[in-house]
């Protein structure tokens, strides 16, 4: 082993003409930014994103397959089925669950959490930064593959749907909002339980899958309900076939206002936005609080 002549090799942060510890550090945000980037890099190096990307390619693949086999299928139907049923119902909870449940637990299982706990980062901040990186990853995947799905549905199709790019952007926004809520929720679950994956799958299947489809107030506790309301109020899902016009969303989501005036009491788009964001914040705050006490 050799030593640098002008510095103390065993105190690398303190060269011979060193400044005091406080003066040679970066800003207070340096550890947090580094942790954020480290978490993103960790996700990129795992095989998880490839599995997720493979799953996310399913709707685009299905769209191409259906278009290739049934020439008279309406793009709007595909749009609704794939972008507003399949993706939010199956893929968004899954991607959020897989990433959020592992964001702390993976570090614990691989025992790399030690390297983070002995840094000048409060535990609550550690949780929040890791959640932020998780949300970033999940949202990026969501946006990219929502756009791909729309491309597979609409490119080269005879569509009467107005302004497809804007619709695609809105769908990506709605999906991103849902994924933020799911990540926050499953992040909290990962702090509350040692088996977040199991509980998360149960939650996704029972609460988001079953309760959300019941026309009762119980669906007010689900993420997908608010996501659907935002989509229902901001996008059209009307198709005409054989001289008959139908609203796909109203039928499938039990939101047929024409038949049931009580449905007018459904929350406005802004209320849904507030509920999803406030719920996400509440979950994050609670999880961060729990982390700081551990």
């Amino acid at each position: 082993m050799t030593q640098a002549a002008s510095a103390n090799p065993l105190d690398p942060a303190r060269p011979a003409n060193a400044t005091p510890l406080a003066a040679r550090g970066g800003s207070r945000l340096t550890p947090l930014v580094t942790l954020y980037l480290l978490t993103l890099r960790r996700y990129l190096h795992g095989k998880r994103w490839m599995v997720m990307a493979g799953l996310f390619l399913l709707p685009a693949g299905l769209a191409l397959l259906i278009r290739a086999t049934s020439r008279d299928v309406q793009p709007m139907r595909l749009d609704f089925l794939l972008a507003f049923m399949f993706i939010p119902q199956a893929l968004l909870p899954l991607v959020a669950l897989v990433y959020a449940s592992g964001m702390i637990q993976d570090e614990q299982e691989e025992q790399t959490i030690t390297y983070l706990l002995v840094r000048p980062i409060p535990k609550w901040a550690l949780y929040c930064v890791k959640l932020l990186a998780t949300i970033t990853t999940a949202v990026l995947l969501t946006i990219v593959f929502t756009v791909l799905t729309y491309a597979a549905i609409y490119i080269g199709a005879d569509s009467r749907v107005k302004d497809v790019p804007l619709r695609c952007l809105q769908a990506a926004g709605i999906h991103s909002l849902a994924v933020v809520a799911y990540c926050s929720l499953f992040g909290l679950l990962s702090v509350l339980t040692k088996r977040p994956l199991v509980w998360g799958i149960l939650y996704a299947a029972f609460v988001e899958g079953l309760l959300a489809n019941l026309p009762f107030s119980i669906r007010l506790v689900t993420v997908i309900y608010y996501t659907r309301i935002i989509a229902f109020r901001s996008l059209e899902f009307i198709v005409s076939s054989y001289g008959r016009t139908e609203n796909l969303a109203a039928e499938a989501w039990k939101l047929d206002i024409a038949k049931d005036p009580k449905l007018l009491e459904h929350p406005q788009t802004s209320t849904c936005l507030i509920v999803l964001l406030a719920g996400s914040l509440a979950c994050t705050a609670l999880a961060a609080l729990l982390c700081s006490g551990r």
């Binding site: 060269p15 550090g25 550890p31 025992q111 030690t114 840094r119």
Partner: protein, 314 residues
């Protein structure tokens, strides 16, 4: 415990207990570690890692107080700028290169980019990893991994270092290098608490030791002080002699001999005495008188291993 230089303790445990449900990790432990290098010794399950985890704020004590540099440890992230930990577990971000890992550790400790870059390079040089710094960690040997772990603990220039079994699995060259580094850290004014269950390794780093067993403090202090403890208790002296039976009969007549065990196969006597000094000085004369030749004479109780075994089995 009396340390080499300073009066104020660097690490202080006061009546600290740590329970994991029904298992006790540490039991009402009170110690004070002074500046310099201190060895933390004990068999597996003695509580060494628990102690280090408590000292680095990774665990909350079930009872008692832990202070490092006079500050409370739990939920005190700013203290982490002044401490470094080399954990026992062989865990890394395997996809990183050694340089990347140490640089990231420096950045996580709050250093800006140029300082972190410089510090990472210099630390890797100090632990002898410059040549391999650009290789992925997943391809490192055990020795390289230990050196890299030590580098991440050192990179931000901490005042206090906690090293959990840093020599585990290393080859003799790496072991020698790491021991040299640890000794140098001590001589440069760093405080190092290094755990191990290999006693001669600790002896080569420091004469100051803390002995733990079953979560309790067995002994603490200079190795001389600890050896004094054992002098109050029977020493075991092995004697290899052709006429071992005759010698045994003769020794039993001596007042300070507490007992004798005979190992006929090795022609060996294991003599138990409370006055080893007097026994050693009288033995040659006795052998001469009886016309016996002593082929071998030794006592395991003279090394730290024996002190350790004696104290933990007490």
């Amino acid at each position: 415990m009396t340390g080499p230089a300073e009066v104020h303790p660097i690490v202080a445990f006061h009546e600290v207990s740590k329970r994991y449900r029904n298992v006790i990790g540490l039991n009402k432990l009170s110690i004070q570690v002074q500046a310099g290098v201190t060895g933390l010794l004990g068999p597996n399950g003695a509580g060494k890692s628990t102690l280090l985890q408590l000292a680095t704020g990774q665990l909350y004590p079930s009872q008692g107080q832990v202070r490092v540099l006079g500050q409370r440890v739990w939920n005190n992230p700013s203290l982490n700028r002044q401490i470094g930990l080399c954990p026992e577990q062989d865990a890394f971000y395997e996809w990183m290169t050694g340089w990347d890992f140490v640089y990231t550790s420096a950045r996580l400790s709050g250093m800006n980019r140029p300082t972190a870059r410089e510090a990472a390079g210099r630390t890797l040089e100090a632990v002898g990893m410059t040549k391999n710094k650009d290789r992925a960690i997943r391809g490192y040997s055990k020795g390289m991994r230990q050196r890299t772990k030590l580098a991440q603990a050192l990179v931000h220039g901490p005042q206090v270092l906690f090293l959990d079994e840093p020599l585990t699995g290393t080859d003799p060259v790496a072991r020698r290098d790491l021991i040299d580094i640890i000794c140098r850290l001590g001589s440069e004014g760093k405080s190092v608490l290094v755990s191990s269950h290999v006693l001669h390794e600790v002896q080569s780093m420091t004469p100051y030791i803390i002995l733990l067993n079953h979560g309790r403090l067995v002994a603490a202090g200079h190795v001389r002080q600890i050896r004094d403890l054992i002098d109050k208790h029977p020493h075991h002296i092995a004697i290899v002699c052709e006429q071992y039976r005759k010698l045994a009969g003769r020794l039993l007549a001596e007042e300070d001999v507490e007992g004798i065990k005979i190992a006929a196969a090795e022609r060996q006597l294991m003599v138990e005495t409370r006055s080893p000094g007097a026994f050693y000085s009288r033995l040659p004369e006795l052998a001469l008188q009886e016309g016996m030749t002593i082929e071998e004479l030794y006592s395991d109780d003279d090394n730290l291993e024996a002190v350790f075994k004696y104290l933990v089995n007490k």
